[in-house]
Structure formats: structure tokens, C-alpha cells
Symmetry: C2
Subunit: 459 residues, 2 copies
């Protein structure tokens, strides 16, 4: 298997070598030396294909640019890394990236008014409209990561000393966006089920108003948090937040692109999503969507005038700093988008697979799940202190024994060395892989004399 992966990369690279010859050639055609180089290149690809087909051959290329390993974790392994699952590129995104990797590749046909989201070739303007519809909001922009969406909103709405309501499970980038704007985060405590409840949000807002004498400038809540992958009642929270006239930012870093998201139904004033986390896109990428009410504020255009030249750049949006994703990042989002739109319709199946695996893990005596259960998401925090960590206690490799065993079975992405509480994500794995994964964990348990309860029910 690894041989075939290696030879596929080598063939791709050898074709890039040929492409480089074409890039150096005149548009009128190849000169004899270049023709010779292409012939040799083709011969090299053919030889690699022979190996690829036969599963033979030794690695001929092991480094890129002399120092970088060939990353093969999605080809040669099953990857359960908690943040990588929904950001792996689709086939079409990889093709788009091959064609549109060059710096400003989006700008071939940039015409007046010279703004990324207005470009029609490639169909960037239409994509922006689709993106807004996808999360059921009025307007959307692409941004370099969800965090840059938080930043744009916080920078617009939050002034020095303003309190901003977040959850006790808020992602650190929300903290930073608030801090960068000069605000102060105020955390809503979570319930003993590790959930944020609308009541707790109301209480916190009351408390903040009492203590600071200020109405919070903004509330930011994660539909699914990064710590447990729990699903929070964002619609209920938005309702409470709006009762205090606080704008509501919906953090969909773990939802937009994997499950259906309806911003209007939720009552979101802003929907932020992550391209590299959940939309099968190159990093840094993401989306900031908003309503017609808020767009003029957060997407306000520049009012600055040059005092000498009287220059104005009126169409450029201040918080976007003009154009955002001018190349491969955006094209990867666009190329993945049809598949992403389709995959959210199969979210139930993803949740089923998540539960299937977690059930198999729970069948290993001593294992627990710290996330809500049954699972409503594919990101899960587990606690194997009573199972694998007991093995680690006496194993000469300590916690790394589990990594070793998983790696032997072609599984990666667990936090190396961790056998107590750790996170994993099964998003996008086929049933075949899910079953393999479940069996692998149980096999390792059995090997180390942990009890495995027989599976009940069907799947």
C-alpha cells in the first residue's frame, strides 16, 4: 500500500517536472532540448506507473525542496486527528489547487470594481452568493480562517473595555479577537453536562450588566465546542442574547461544512465558518456571513481619503482589508463546495458512524466518553484512564504503546503518548474504515488483556 502511495506521489511530481518544462518554453512550442526533456519526463512517469501498478519499487523521491517529507497521512493511514478530519481536501479541490496554486491566480480577469467577491471568471461572485445561501444568511465573504471572521466582527462592534459574552468552552481565537479589539471576555459557566444553556447565558448577561454597568457589545457562541464536540442550544442562546439587544455571532467552525446550518433559523447576526477545519479547503480559509442589517457595519467600505492625492478606494471593505483569499485557498473552497453542500445532507450517517466507533471503544472495559452521549458530532473526547492508561502504567513505552499499536495498524492522529483523556474525530471515514478502526482498538485492548464486552445491537 505504502509503495503505491509513494509511487503516486512520484508520478505526480514527475508530471510537475514536465509542467515546469512547458512553463519555461515559448508559447510557440518546444525547442529540441525541451522536447527531449518532455520525452525523458514521460519515460520517467511511465516507469513509475509500472511500479505503481505492480506495487513495487523503492522510494526514488523522499524530500520536497530538499527538506520536506512527503506527507502521506491521508493516503497510507486512517487519520483520526481531531481538527484535521473535515479539512482534508476533496478530489476536486486537489485538482483546483494544481491548476490555481500560483499566487494571485484568482486575478486573471479582475475588472472594475476590483474586488475579489465581484470577480466572475472564475465564478467567485456566484460562489459568494451560494455561500450566503448555504448558511441561510444574506451576505458572505471569505476570510483567512474563522478567527479572522471573529476579528472583523469584534473590531467593528467592540470598543475598549467592552464586555463580550462567550462560553466557558470558547475557543482561544475568540479570546484573542476580543482582546485585539480591546474588549474583555466574560464566560458563561457550563452545566454539569458540559453544555451552555440559555438560562446560564441570561444569568451571565445580568451579572455582567450589574458589575460593569455596560451592556455586552457582542456574544459569540460555538454551536459545537472544540473541547467536547457537544452541541449547544444556539437558537435558544441567540434568543436570550437578542433580548438584551446584543448581536449574536455563531461560531460554526465545527459545523459549517459538515452539518446543515441555518443562520436565520438560529437567529445569528453573524455566521463564521472555517474552510480548513470543516470545508475541505486549504488553510487559512473561512467564511463570514451576515445579515442585510449588519453588513453595512461589518462590511463597511473605506472612508479614508488621501490628504494630498484625494485618493479614495471606496469599494474596498475595511475589515476585509480589501481582498482576502486571492488564490489557491479560495479555489480549493470553491472546488470542494459542491461536495461540501452534498455532504451536510448525510450528517446523520456521520453521527451514526461516530456512535458506532464510540460504542466499540466503550465496550473496552474502563473506557469512558467525556462528550455528551450518544454522540451528536464526530469530534469526541474520550477517557481511557481506566483502560489503555492502565496498560501504559507498566508498559516500557508508557503512553506511547498505544500510538505504536495504532501506527502498526495504519491509524494516526491520536495525540501521541496520551492514554488518559484525548480527542478524536471520525468525520468522513467510510463504514469500512470505521469498522476497521473499531476492531483495531478492540484488538489492541484484547492483546493487553483488557476486557472487551461483545457488541450488542446492530450496525
Amino acid at each position: 500500500m505504502k509503495e503505491q502511495v509513494q509511487k503516486t506521489f512520484e508520478a505526480l511530481f514527475a508530471l510537475e517536472d514536465i509542467r515546469e518544462v512547458l512553463r519555461e518554453a515559448l508559447p510557440t512550442g518546444l525547442d529540441p532540448d525541451e522536447e527531449q526533456a518532455v520525452r525523458e519526463g514521460v519515460a520517467r512517469v511511465r516507469a513509475i506507473l509500472d511500479d505503481l501498478e505492480a506495487g513495487t519499487g523503492t522510494p526514488a523521491v523522499t524530500k520536497i525542496a530538499g527538506t520536506l517529507d512527503i506527507r502521506n497521512r491521508e493516503e497510507a493511514y486512517i487519520n483520526i486527528q481531531p481538527i484535521q478530519a473535515a479539512g482534508r481536501l476533496t478530489l476536486e479541490a486537489r485538482k483546483a489547487l494544481i491548476a490555481y496554486g500560483d499566487g494571485y491566480s484568482t486575478c486573471d480577469a479582475c475588472r472594475k470594481p476590483f474586488r475579489l467577491d465581484k470577480i466572475t471568471k472564475p465564478s467567485i461572485a456566484a460562489f459568494h452568493e451560494d455561500l450566503a445561501k448555504f448558511v441561510n444568511m444574506d451576505v458572505a465573504r471569505v476570510v483567512p480562517g474563522a478567527r479572522r471572521g471573529f476579528q472583523a466582527v469584534a473590531s467593528t462592534l467592540v470598543s475598549k473595555g467592552d464586555p463580550v459574552i462567550v462560553s466557558a468552552l470558547a475557543h482561544y481565537t475568540e479570546f484573542l479577537a476580543v482582546e485585539e479589539a480591546g474588549g474583555v471576555v466574560k464566560e458563561v459557566p457550563i452545566s454539569k453536562e458540559n453544555l451552555v444553556t440559555p438560562d446560564a447565558v441570561a444569568e451571565k448577561i445580568e451579572e455582567v450588566i450589574r458589575e460593569t454597568g455596560k451592556n455586552p457589545a457582542l456574544a459569540m457562541f460555538d454551536h459545537v465546542d472544540y473541547q467536547f464536540g457537544n452541541l449547544h442550544d444556539v437558537a435558544g442562546i441567540a434568543k436570550v442574547v437578542h433580548q438584551y439587544d446584543i448581536p449574536f455571532l455563531y461560531n460554526g467552525a465545527y459545523t459549517v461544512g459538515v452539518m446543515p446550518v441555518d443562520g436565520k433559523a438560529i437567529g445569528a447576526d453573524f455566521v463564521v465558518g472555517s474552510g480548513h477545519k470543516s470545508m475541505a479547503s486549504v488553510a487559512p480559509s473561512g467564511v463570514l456571513a451576515t445579515t442585510d442589517e449588519w453588513a453595512p457595519k461589518v462590511l463597511r467600505t473605506t472612508a479614508m481619503v488621501g490628504d494630498v492625492t484625494n485618493r479614495k478606494f471606496g469599494i474596498k471593505e475595511v475589515e476585509m482589508l480589501g481582498c482576502t483569499l486571492m488564490g489557491g485557498t479560495l479555489l480549493s473552497m470553491m472546488a470542494s463546495f459542491p461536495a461540501v453542500k452534498e455532504r451536510v445532507n448525510h450528517w446523520d450517517e456521520e453521527v451514526k458512524k461516530s456512535n458506532y466507533f464510540i460504542d466499540a471503544l466503550l465496550a473496552i472495559e474502563g473506557s469512558k466518553v467525556l462528550s455528551e452521549y450518544p454522540r451528536k458530532h464526530t469530534l469526541t473526547k474520550v477517557d481511557t484512564t481506566g483502560s489503555f492508561d492502565a496498560v501504559a502504567a507498566t508498559h516500557k513505552r508508557r503512553g506511547f504503546f498505544l500510538s505504536d499499536e495504532l501506527s502498526k495498524r495504519g491509524i494516526v492522529g491520536e495525540f501521541a503518548g496520551a492514554t488518559r483523556t484525548w480527542k478524536l474525530n471520525t468525520f468522513g471515514l467510510s463504514w469500512k474504515k470505521i469498522r476497521y478502526l473499531a476492531e483495531a482498538f478492540q484488538e489492541i485492548a484484547t492483546k493487553y488483556n483488557l476486557n472487551v464486552k461483545p457488541r450488542t445491537g446492530s450496525a
Copy 2:
């Protein structure tokens, strides 16, 4: 030629199809269906290679993800687009992108303290050190475009109402970064040679202090401006700026990655560069480098503490919003870096080629160059009002006649329809292409009965 380009893309895509089969397979190996799919895929690639070698065949794939054209402007054409030249990917960057396109591809081995620039596998930490050395500064960070570097600095140093000194040729993103921070740009007038002089900067600072009663919070100057590609005396400007205790931001969007830049010799407090504009990298990418004096301010780590959880994310830098380029963008920068470091040593040759082409254009009677001449850069603003625009006046395609003629000769990147003042960039074109380009323009001139003076001197 175009057939070979097309078939190269088709072969690359067909290999990605095979790769997708491998991605879907279990790590233990291919099942019979998958084996069959790989065999068929290999057969398809072989057939494409036959066409590639022979220069035969008709396009079998014309769209990516159903809607996106295959972008072949760097393979099938000579591209003189003003902002794209130095951002086209190197061969190694394209390979890195193939291997590292997936979302969070940089994060496989992220360990404590969990920050992008500390990751050692791939060698991101070492790259950051090299990057600082490359521009002779103390510390460097990667950012999503030069504009995000301006933003980080402005957000740190500029308060509401603060004046910021820029040039009358300043890029619009400098305006936006200042506006986003609440400041006001104050432009330094340019000389009749379209240059910013240290004296004019001193005068402007005096004027601003007189009028606002405030010392400017920051000065931002482009070493090479985007309008003319002129080279400004940034060292002289930095000296003046420092006499007023104003921090100096060096905008190297058109220099870092194409010509040698020595931040310390210039006297820069901040050096900002663009990955997708001048470092052969995927957008959005860039670099912000600074001194040991300024790093604690602009790269300050978060001080925010969760009021309920007492959570702190002490290692994360506020203005960076934590990690910045977590995937293919960064890897493309890293993979291009050895070539980029090398190419700045050949800047003289790039300038020679720029002048060779401009001389050929000037030989067409009625043509002018609006940039400083002889050229010191590869980005040039020309004025063909007296030559090609005279033809356009009576041509039924108006200004588009020039685009048509260039396109026929495999040249793209001029601003379509523009025949008066327009910009072009010859960076990275081989002598062979430069000569071809020069001949093409003169050939078009001759065809339309414009006088072309014979070349004098040698090249």
C-alpha cells in the same frame, strides 16, 4: 503546445483520481474493486502520456468541479500581469502543495507549546529563523498577506485619531490598515520624478505635528511602489522618520523575495513582505519581521484570562490571532524559499531584462515609460498613447486590438483593452521569453505601421 499543456493537466488529474482510490482504501491494502480502479486509472494515465508525448489528442477534461476552467496561463502563455509575476509557484512549491494541501496539514506533529512557528516537523520553526535572517531582522512571523502585517502593526501602534505617515503612492491596504486601527493617513507628496524623498517626508511630518499637535504614530513606506515600480530611498526616509521617534514600517511587497532586502541596514522597525506577490507562494501569505525591540509589542502574547475558568492561552500572540498559515500556504512558502533566496542574488539580471524589454517598447515611436528610467525594477508603467492607442483610435476592436494581437502570440496579462497607460511585469521571464516578448510588441507595431527604431547597443 496547448495540447501538451492540456494533457499534462489531464495526467495530473488522472493521478489524483488514483490517489483518491488510495485515500478511500484501508491501510492494509486495496480490495479487488480498488485494485481494479487503480489499474484502470493507470491505463488512463498511460493513454494521456501517449498524447502528451505526441502532442496529440483532444481535451477530455475541461472543467474542475463542474465549473472551474483549467488555468493554463503560466504554461501556455507568457504572462506579463503586473502583480502575478513573482508569485507564480516554483516547481518545488507545486510539489509541496500536492503533498500538503489538506486543511491543517502543518499540524501533524504540533506539540506543546502549540504554536505554528514552534513546530519542528515539518521544519517550520527553522523556516521562521531563516525568514528573519533573509530580511536581516530579529524575528519573523508568517501572515495571511502583507496587508495582515500592516494590520498587526497598525493595530498595535495606532490609536484613534493618530496620524500615520504614508506616501502619495501608498498601496490601498496601508490606508485600510490605518483606518481599521482608527488612525488617519497623511500622504507625503512625491517629486516630479515620482519619488518620495527624505526631505519631503521631514516636511510632511513637521506639517502634521503643526496641524494635529500629535507626533505620527507610525510611518509606512513602500520600497518599490505599486504605481510606477519606482525605487524609493527608504534608508534615507527611515533616518528622517527616526529623528521624530516614529517607528518605521518597510513595505516590501514588491521587494522581499525578488531583490536583496536588509532590514537593519535600511533602519526598518518592521519589514513586511508578500508571499503571493513576491515569494512564489499560495495566497494569502506573507511575512512580518521585526526587531527584538518591537517584537514584545507587536508580537505580544495574550493577557486575557477567562473569568470563570481562569483559562489563559499565554503563548498565543494577539495580533497573529494564534496560528496564521496552518497549511498549504505556508508549505508553499517553505518549498519556494531555497529558490527565492537564490533568485534575489540574480536581481541585477532581472533588471537587465526589464530594461531590455522597455528599450524595445520605447523603440516603437510614440511610446513612453512613466516609471523611472532606466528601470530599477521589473514592474513598469508604460504609456502607449502615442503608439498603440493611435492604432486603437481607428481599429474596430478599439483598445482590444492589442490584446488580440498579444493573445495570438501567446502573451497575456496586459490590462485587456488598455492602450494608453498600463503596467506590466517581466519578473522571472527567461532571456528567451524577454526577446520573444520584445519582438512580439515590435512586430505588432510594424503590422500597424508604427515606426520602430532599430535597436542600438547589445543585449
